[in-house]
């Protein structure tokens, strides 16, 4: 396959940045999208140009490092996959592909396609945990049975990989799906009840401080989420938030 790539190039956080065109030839449809970018980078290096910087690590869809807004969609055209799982067979010979970073005020660009998602970490630090010290003397794991349905739903919420596709896809750059997933995981489990009130208030507060936008129920986040995290998690967080406000 021969392709034209239009890629966002930005030297550093202070640079204005622009789209740059590249031609790339002889791409195998069995290559992954990131392997295609590897080929491009090898070419750029051999020509003495600066390779395109992008985040990536596990290359199997679980670490959440890779991002990329491909042809206007977070993680590209397929559903339920990350960019690293996208293969070139999803494109046609002669295609032009637009590649941009995930854009949001809370995700400033570091270089080229790499953005700073540490705002997500700070939201988790505000309350995304259960306060239990490591002791070896916690009660036996089977002392508290958990309804399988709730356990499965908690697991589904917990499969969020923190990639930020939900924010990038949202016209408001809202992080409600990300935060809702963490709040839901604990809200669905008996272990999470003790700190439920503080957790939701603190996490939502931090989310606002990081300048994520509001949710207007468009649902783009759910569509673009590589892990299929459900909108129900946002509804559950709203209920938790309302209840917490009434209590506090």
């Amino acid at each position: 396959m021969n392709l034209t790539l239009k890629i966002w190039r930005q030297k550093n956080a202070d640079d204005k940045g622009k789209m740059v065109d590249y031609k790339i030839n002889d791409i195998s449809p069995d290559m992954s999208f990131l392997e295609m970018l590897d080929v491009l980078n090898e070419e750029l290096i051999s020509k003495g140009e600066s390779p395109v910087a992008f985040d990536h690590d596990c290359r199997e869809g679980i670490c959440g490092s890779c991002s990329l807004f491909i042809n206007g969609r977070a993680h590209g055209p397929d559903r339920y996959i990350t960019t690293c799982q996208l293969h070139m067979r999803s494109f046609k010979d002669g295609d032009t592909i637009n590649i941009e970073p995930f854009r949001a005020t809370a995700f400033p660009v570091i270089k080229d396609l790499i953005v700073d998602r540490s705002s997500f970490d700070r939201v988790q630090q505000a309350g995304g945990f259960i306060s239990v010290n490591t002791s070896g003397n916690t009660i036996d794991a089977n002392t508290i049975p958990v309804n399988k349905h709730d356990a499965d739903d908690a697991f589904s919420a917990a499969t969020c990989i923190g990639c930020g596709a939900c924010v990038a896809a949202c016209k408001n750059a809202s992080a409600m799906l990300f935060v809702g997933a963490k709040v839901s995981q604990f809200a669905l489990l008996p272990q999470g009840q003790v700190e439920a009130t503080d957790r939701v208030l603190n996490m939502v507060n931090q989310m606002d401080e990081e300048k994520f936008g509001n949710c207007t129920n468009t649902g783009a986040c759910e569509v673009e989420c590589p892990k299929g995290i459900s909108l129900e998690n946002i509804a559950r967080m709203n209920r938790e938030y309302l209840a917490a406000n009434v209590k506090s």
Binding site: S28, D30, L34, E35, D38, V39, L44, I45, S46, E49, S50, P51, A53, D55, H56, D57, C58, R59, E60, G61, C63, G64, S65, D78, Q85, H87, R89, I110, K111, I114, R117, S118, F120, D121, Q124, Q125, A126, F129, I130, V132, T134, S135, G136, T138, I139, A141, N142, P145, N147, K148, A151, D152, F155, A158, T159, G162, Q185, L189, Q191, G192
Partner: protein
């Protein structure tokens, strides 16, 4: 220096309890004056950082990723072992200990493994208390499954994402401490040297990967939880960034490196598809609970399948060779990983590989679909003889168990594994070897600790499935936080460690010189070019089967390649910016040294044990031939070039387990 493993005296089952009762403690008020650096935030590093901070130490944690949650533990799929005996199938601490020592081909340290088995149950309790959503049965209690090399069901899991859930648990425990200010987190930072002051590890040199700035960080002790070195093979199931640099720098500063040749080649990975490949993808071992592995019996069928003239589903049962069930009737498809990998290689070498490259075997779920489907039909009162219905019901059950793995396979290979068997082939996955540590997890450098996959201690020559997560969390939550106190008790009056000492100057200068050399080298080939060549040497000569001749030539070739790398590598850009090529070059330069020591270690070990298979040492049936005279840990001391490394031996004593022929027949 003689190796002292510091194994406590007394009966095996009492060692850990007695040790904990007799070592020094640091009182809570003094812990506030003590700093600990933890490098790496996977299961081992993350859990250690959180626990040390809970205890009151000031922790500085480092990871090269953009968040601690991205460490490669996240990709572990199948599960975590624990001797809970929830299934009532006779499991016990002793059995988990026994299985792990036997699984490691009697090349691990008895006392460490027993302790691991002892704390395994605490891990599950701790993780459930943290809100880790393990799979449950309808009664609300925790579910288990089986893994290779054992005869009980002791593996706890969260679908095919157990590593993710456990890591997010450790990450949440870290977040709580970061929020409290007890952990200072340094994301996108790479450790490039350990600083030794007066014979003790007192800090590190790190590079901020965004700004390129070189930083000095001091502490009273340094803990490495930096994972394995599988990427020395270039192609592995490790993440792209996984590297040996922290462990290797520790080695160069005096930490002995143990058993580098013990590598796990995992049997169920997606086969290589072409030269463009950047990494390999694992399919969880848990799939071997329900999938059956086979190749055709006849060569003509193999050729017809390769040519696309015959579909695997259409090949009659009697024309299939379920070679694991044939060779190992007792364990069948659930033999340990080293055995399964070698058996796949044996069939493929004999010409029975089922894809174009000849390096693939089938993992087939057809009979699992029917088995589960019949059960479902029975439960639901439907027609058990309606094959189409039964298959559909069975596929639903399998989807619930392994849905994400099937999806992952389909995305990569572009074939539907519900309709045609998966193709798999072994790939480098885990390294049992690593930095030598004593019972306290301290390296041969005082104050320098090593935990998780980065150390060597628990898995011998072969790791059993679902034991890596167990070890990472055991070390980080339950072992290191206590043993480190014994050392730090000496440091309560030391005060802050200054970073303007000669030792820091010298270490920083070393790092800067290396970086300058690489940036100004202006060579002709990229970092990947060298990394791929190294990987090819490693795979062909130090891979699943090794022999003296190949290993000798590997040592020479790697040494030459290293010289060529320093002369001819091309690193674009500057050192004062985000520069991934520079980060890669620094990592590959260490792989190029480790690779040579790896081959040297494999050459020394004239036996076959676990993941280390020497062609010269095999039984008539082609099984691994272990030799009594090699019942030791080879711990290498750095002396300049890897080929000059000096061997130290830690003899392995087995007082509580009979060393037997390791048979899974």
């Amino acid at each position: 220096m003689a190796l002292d493993s510091k194994i406590p005296k007394g009966p095996l089952a009492e060692k850990w309890t007695n040790h904990k009762n007799s070592i020094n403690l640091v009182n809570p008020a003094n812990k506030r004056n003590i700093d600990v650096i933890v490098v790496g935030t996977g299961l081992a590093g993350g859990s250690a950082a959180a626990t040390l901070a809970e205890l009151g130490y000031n922790v500085k944690a480092f990871c090269f990723q953009d968040s601690p949650r991205r460490a490669h533990s996240i990709a572990a799929q199948g599960g975590i072992n624990a001797a809970k005996n929830y299934q009532g199938d006779g499991d016990s601490t002793y059995r988990l200990f026994y299985d792990t020592v036997k699984g490691g081909d009697y090349r691990s340290r008895e006392s460490n493994v027993y302790r691991l088995a002892e704390v395994s149950a605490n891990i599950i309790d701790q993780c459930v208390a943290q809100g880790v959503p393990f799979a449950r049965e309808y009664g609300g209690l925790l579910d288990n499954r089986s893994f290779g090399g054992v005869l009980v069901s002791r593996t706890f899991y969260a679908a095919g994402q157990t590593g993710q859930q456990l890591l997010l648990g450790a990450y949440s425990a870290m977040n709580r401490q970061i929020g409290r200010g007890k952990i200072t987190m340094y994301n996108r930072h790479e450790m490039l040297d350990v600083v030794i002051v007066d014979g003790k590890a007192r800090g590190i040199i790190a590079r901020d990967l965004v700004s390129g700035k070189i930083e000095r960080h001091s502490a009273h002790a340094v803990v490495l939880g930096t994972g394995g070195y599988g990427n020395v093979f270039f192609l592995s199931t490790n993440a792209m960034g996984s590297n040996v640099t922290a462990a290797w720098k520790a080695h160069k500063r005096g930490a002995y490196f143990a058993n580098p040749c013990y590598t796990q080649i995992h049997p169920t990975c997606i086969p290589v598809s072409g030269d463009h490949q950047s990494k390999l993808t694992l399919m969880s071992e848990s799939l071997r609970n329900d999938g059956r592995i086979w190749v055709p019996k006849k060569k003509e069928d193999v050729e017809a399948i390769r040519a696309g003239k015959l579909k695997p589903r259409d090949l009659a049962e009697e024309d299939r060779d379920y070679y694991l069930e044939r060779r190992y009737p007792a364990f069948g498809n659930l033999v340990p990983r080293d055995v399964a990998s070698r058996a796949a290689k044996e069939r493929c070498d004999a010409g029975y590989g089922v894809n174009a490259t000849g390096e693939a075997v089938y993992l087939d779920f057809a009979s699992a679909f029917m088995r589960y489907g019949k059960e479902q039909a029975h439960v639901k009162g439907l027609d058990e003889n309606d094959d189409a219905l039964v298959k559909k019901l069975g596929q639903e059950v399998v989807k619930n168990k392994y849905g994400n793995l099937f999806q992952m396979y389909e995305k990569i290979v572009d074939q539907n594994p519900y309709e045609t068997p998966m193709m798999i082939y072994p790939a480098v996955h885990y390294t049992m070897g690593g930095v030598w540590v004593d019972y306290n997890l301290m390296t041969t450098v005082p104050g320098l600790y090593c935990i998780g996959e980065a150390n060597f201690s628990d898995h011998g020559a072969n790791r059993l499935g679902a034991s890596a997560l167990m070890q990472g969390l055991a070390d980080g939550y339950f072992v290191l936080p206590y043993t480190i106190g014994d050392y730090l008790a000496e440091d309560i009056r030391t005060g802050k460690i200054p970073t303007d000492s000669k030792a820091f100057d010298e270490a920083e200068k070393n790092v800067v010189d290396n970086i300058e050399h690489l940036i100004n080298n202006n060579g002709t080939h990229s970092v990947d070019h060298f990394h791929k060549r190294l990987g090819k040497i490693m795979w062909e000569k130090c891979g699943m089967a090794r022999n003296a001749e190949d290993l000798k030539s590997a040592i020479n070739e790697i040494s030459e390649l290293r010289a060529e790398f320093w002369k001819d590598v091309k690193v674009p850009g500057t050192s004062e910016e985000y520069n991934e090529e520079l980060a890669k070059a620094l990592r590959v330069s260490d792989f190029l040294e480790l690779g040579e020591l790896f081959a040297k270690d494999a050459l020394l070990r004239e036996e076959s044990a676990g993941g280390h298979f020497r062609e010269e040492y095999q039984t008539e049936e082609g099984e691994a031939m272990r030799r009594k005279e090699f019942q030791y840990v080879s711990a290498w001391e750095y002396k300049g070039e890897p080929k000059d490394a000096v061997l130290h031996k830690e003899d392995l004593q087995y007082e509580n387990i009979e060393v037997k022929e390791r048979s899974y027949k």
